[in-house]
Point group: C2
C-alpha cells in the first residue's frame, strides 16, 4: 500500500520535472526484440537534422547494448537496470532524469524492458505511451491481450516486410485493435527499409521545425 | 514469506503428482509469439503416431486460442488464466493437473505465458524446462539476458528460416549461449518447414517406441 503510494508520488514527480523542463517524453513498451530500439534509431535520424535534441533512457536486464546503439547516433543515453523485472521503477526513472541535462533536451524516449504489458500497469510519469508489436509475433497478439490494447492509444507494428514469411495478415491485427480501441491509432513500419517512419512521426506529433 | 512457502509446497505437490502418475512434463518458456505453440504442434505430430499420449496446459492472458489449436490436433488441452502476470501460479497448475486424466497421459507440455524469464524464478513442479527464442527477436537476446540462459539447460531457437531477413547470425546466439552455459543444449528449428524437430525430440529425450 505504502509502496504503491510512493511509486505514484514518484511518477508524479517525474511528470512535473519533465513539464518544468519542457521535455516531451515518449515511452515504448513491447516484447523482447519487437523493434523498439530500431524505431527510436529511425526517429533520431529524422528528428536530429530538424534541430530536435533527442535523448533516451533504456531499461535492460543486463548490459548497455541499446545505450551504445543510441550513443553511436550521437545522442545522450542512460541505461537502467531492470533487475529482471517486467517493468521499470519510477525511482529509477527519476534518477535517470536527474542525470540528464533536461533543460537542453526536447524529446526523450524511454525504452521499456522487453515485456508486453499495459501502459496503465506501471505509469512512469505522464509521457505518451506506445506499444510496439512485430508481425513476427503472429497475428493473434491483439486478440490474445485485449486489456493491454484497450489501454493503449498508439500501436506500432514493426517488421511488416516479414508478414508473408510468418503467414500473418496485418489486416487482422488492425481490425482486432480497432474493435477493442476505436479511437486508437496504428502505424505499420519496416525499419530496415525505413518505411512508415513519417507516419510514425505524424502519429507521435513530432514536427520538423527547420526548413533548410 | 508465507505465500512463497505455500507456492513451493504446491510446486512440490505438482511434482509428486506427475511422478506418481508417470507423466513426463515439459515446460516451454518464451516471449510472446516466439513459436511455443508451433513447436508443441510439431512434437504432437511426431509423437502421437508413436502411441505417445500427449496433453497440454496453456497459460494466456485471455481466450483459448492455443487450447483450440491443440484440440484441433486431437489432444486434451487445459487453459489457465494468467491474469496478466508474467508467470503461472503453482496453484493454477495444480487445478489443471487435477482436471486431466493423468493416468492415461504420457507427455504433458506446459506452455507458459509470453514472458521471457528464468526457469529458477517460478518453479512449477519438477518438469524439464526449455526456453524458446525466435531469431526474429534479434541476435543479442542471450547476451542481454545472461542470468536466464545460465539457468536454462535447453534452448530452442525458432524461425531460423527468417534469420537473413532480420540480419541475424545464429552462430552468435549459439556462441553467446555456450559461453555462459557450456553444458546447455541448443536446437535450431523452422516449424513452418518442420526442420530441426527430430533434433528437438532427441534433445528432449522423447523416443518413438512403435516401430510399425
Ligand atoms: N526485417 C526486419 N527486421 C527488423 C525490423 N525492425 C527490427 N528488426 C530486427 O529485429 C531485431 C530486434 O530489433 P531491436 O530494434 O533491437 O528490438 P528491441 O525491441 O529494441 O529489442 P530488445 O531491446 O532486445 O527487447 C534486430 O535483429 C533488428 O534488425 C524491421 O522492420 N524489419
Ligand atoms: N517463418 C516462421 N514462422 C514461424 C515459425 N514458428 C512459428 N512461426 C510463426 O510465428 C507466429 C507465432 O507462432 P506461435 O507458435 O503461435 O507462437 P507462441 O509462442 O505460441 O505465441 P503466444 O502463445 O501468442 O505467445 C505464427 O504466425 C507462426 O506461424 C518458424 O519456424 N518460421
Ligand atoms: Mg532494444
Ligand atoms: Mg502459443
Amino acid at each position: 500500500e505504502d509502496l504503491l503510494e510512493r511509486q505514484i508520488l514518484r511518477a508524479e514527480e517525474n511528470y512535473r520535472l519533465l513539464k518544468e523542463q519542457k521535455v516531451r517524453a515518449i515511452s515504448l513498451i513491447g516484447s523482447i526484440g519487437s523493434g523498439k530500439t530500431s524505431l527510436i534509431e529511425q526517429i533520431i535520424d529524422r528528428a536530429a537534422p530538424c534541430g530536435i535534441v533527442v535523448a533516451t533512457i533504456v531499461g535492460a536486464a543486463h548490459g548497455e547494448d541499446d545505450v551504445q546503439r543510441f550513443r553511436a547516433r550521437g545522442i545522450l543515453s542512460v541505461g537502467i537496470d531492470s533487475h529482471g523485472a517486467c517493468h521499470l521503477e519510477p525511482k529509477a526513472i527519476n534518477d535517470a532524469l536527474h542525470s540528464l541535462p533536461l533543460a537542453e533536451i526536447d524529446l526523450l524516449f524511454i525504452e521499456n524492458v522487453g515485456c508486453l504489458r499495459g501502459p496503465a500497469d506501471y505509469p512512469l510519469g505522464g509521457e505518451t505511451e506506445a506499444v510496439v508489436i512485430a508481425v513476427t509475433e503472429g497475428d493473434a497478439v491483439v486478440h490474445k491481450n485485449p486489456k493491454i490494447f484497450s489501454q493503449t492509444d498508439l500501436v506500432v507494428i514493426t517488421k511488416v516486410d516479414l508478414a508473408a514469411a510468418v503467414g500473418v495478415k496485418t489486416e487482422r491485427i488492425v481490425n482486432d485493435y480497432s474493435q477493442i480501441n476505436p479511437h486508437g491509432k496504428i502505424v505499420l513500419t519496416d525499419t530496415r527499409r525505413r518505411r512508415g517512419i513519417d507516419d510514425l512521426l505524424r502519429a507521435l506529433e513530432i514536427e520538423c521545425a527547420n526548413t533548410q
